[in-house]
Symmetry: C2
Subunit: 326 residues, 2 copies
């Protein structure tokens, strides 16, 4: 009998990239979740099946990999999930084998925190399967370790939000502070469908900053102020100000070189369809944009983004972090 | 017998808007000129004919206006030219009547300094017609007075560049400093054809700054640094860096809210056609954009902008300020 856990995707509302340099960012968990089913095996292998990654296969106790789907590339794709499982096993000195089945509707490599959500859900499902109560702090830590395999030195935003849910003001050194958001935040996410390497984009920003410190550093600092203004607007339920700040934030991300024409077209199409503001979200260079829409314009904004060639869906903030299902 | 004088249009390469708040801007005179022919009249009226404004008519000594073309609106359009003529007459206590014929190829209300070029050429032609040597300082001052009628409190960039030509680092308080540019700067100007009110756009920026000082002030300051970097790149003939700085500057102008979709589309089309960088120029909200193009890509950049719905022309810097023709 399996145990199912789920964890939410995230949208960075403000401050991506600037957060790398110590400025605050705002991130919200959204109602698009990764579900993970964990089952005991009779042998000691770890079997992972992730249809959204088009990858499945077996890891032996000695960490040999045998692909079922996706060939040897599957190993790389499944490795963060294996890391999450293995850490749970290590933590409790268990030697069980487990099956892990991922059902995720979160677009992959799109800046929505898919891999962290899967890792958090995996750690939670597997620990419950083994009859262990795991703390949220441990889930976070394990998802963070899994993220390190994907991103090298991740900011920690993705595992934090997947674990805790809600809306957070995130600070690299000080960590997360919950923002008290009473109102609904009706969002539309538009996916360019272009996968990009976060690492390369982050390193491009670093190069621009090294080349023009007197230009880029003040923009980064001002990016932090955008996030602080936005936190107040979120608490006040002031969607008009939030939208304006999203537009400003988008242009500042363009200034550090991470937007592109497709993202800008989706952003404009959303604004023209009635969005209060729109910006790229995540690393940029592809991936997703997000629009803040009046509730009665959500459909128009979705349609406008799709007419422009993106894939769009409505997303709402959720306070539910990682959890056991059913 | 008439006297012909001409003065150049300008392109702001860097720092529009930021210059209002005391940051440096870079402006270049371009090889698109306003020509003005001045002739003596036998009566004391001032007749002005400006086909590019679709306006002509007579100003009496008592400043009554009689339209020939363009109705009573023509009065407003022709007033800056009348001011230029009248100041010359006042300066030398002349009571002659004059005919002023404008032939200008500079797009109007597009941020290219058309009115200042016409005013500078008018002052120069009329004073020569009256047999007077006028200093460049006086031409500047008169063109500035004419500009005040158009813009209220102009920065002084337009009359400066129309008078002196060349490439200038312009500072609101310190005035202009010539930049020593040895290389050609191959530019393509793309006109959206959308006329906009500079005053309204400037006031929109002021409002955004008042609302978000901690965001907008650092962007303004960083805008000044972009111009200083660009001045060095211009002196070094480093077109690649110039292009990159133009792209950054464009995004910073978006952040203060003065770009729009049409301008962005022209900017992207120019970059895709091989431009090293592109940005809006002038007030924004319409008007023109400018692209820096490798010499062998000028035609492609022009075509790309026109395919996107703009009107494009190649522009090169000129060192020739206002001058008597022939």
């Amino acid at each position: 009998m399996g145990v199912v856990a789920s964890a939410p995707a995230k949208i960075i509302l403000f401050g991506e990239h600037f957060v790398v340099y110590g400025e605050p960012a705002i991130v919200t968990a959204i109602n698009k979740r990764a579900h993970v089913t964990a089952e005991l095996r009779t042998d000691k292998r770890i079997y992972i099946n992730s249809p959204n990654l088009k990858a499945s296969g077996y890891f032996s106790q000695k960490n040999r990999f045998q692909a079922e789907q996706g060939g040897q590339e599957a190993r790389i794709k499944l490795e963060p999930i294996r890391i999450a499982v293995q850490q749970i096993l290590n933590l409790y000195k268990e030697e069980n084998g487990v099956n892990v089945n991922v059902q995720s509707k979160i677009p992959v490599a799109a800046g929505l925190g898919s891999s962290a959500a899967v890792a958090a859900a995996t750690a939670t499902a597997v620990s419950r399967l083994l009859g262990i109560e795991i703390s949220r702090e441990d889930v976070f830590r394990i998802a963070y370790e899994a993220e390190r395999f994907v991103h090298g030195t991740p900011s920690g935003i993705d595992p934090t939000i997947s674990t805790y849910g809600g809306v957070l003001l995130f600070h690299k050194d000080r960590g997360p502070t919950p923002i008290n958001v009473k109102e609904d935040i009706p969002l539309v996410v538009g996916d360019t469908g272009i996968e990009r390497s976060t690492g390369e984009i982050v390193s491009g920003v670093r190069q621009r900053r090294e080349r023009y410190p007197s230009i880029v550093n003040p923009i980064i600092k001002a990016g932090g102020k955008v996030a602080l203004h936005a936190a107040k607007a979120l608490e006040a339920g002031d969607l008009t100000t939030l939208g304006e700040l999203m537009n400003i934030n988008h242009a500042m991300l363009s200034a550090i070189g991470v937007s592109n024409e497709f993202l800008d077209r989706l952003v404009y199409s959303a604004r023209k369809a009635g969005a209060l503001g729109a910006k790229l979200t995540g690393a940029g260079g592809g991936g997703c944009m997000v629009a803040l829409s009046p509730p009665d314009k959500l459909k128009q904004v979705v349609n406008a983004i799709e007419r422009e060639g993106g894939t769009a869906f409505v997303a709402r903030k959720t306070n539910e972090g990682v959890k056991i299902e059913g």
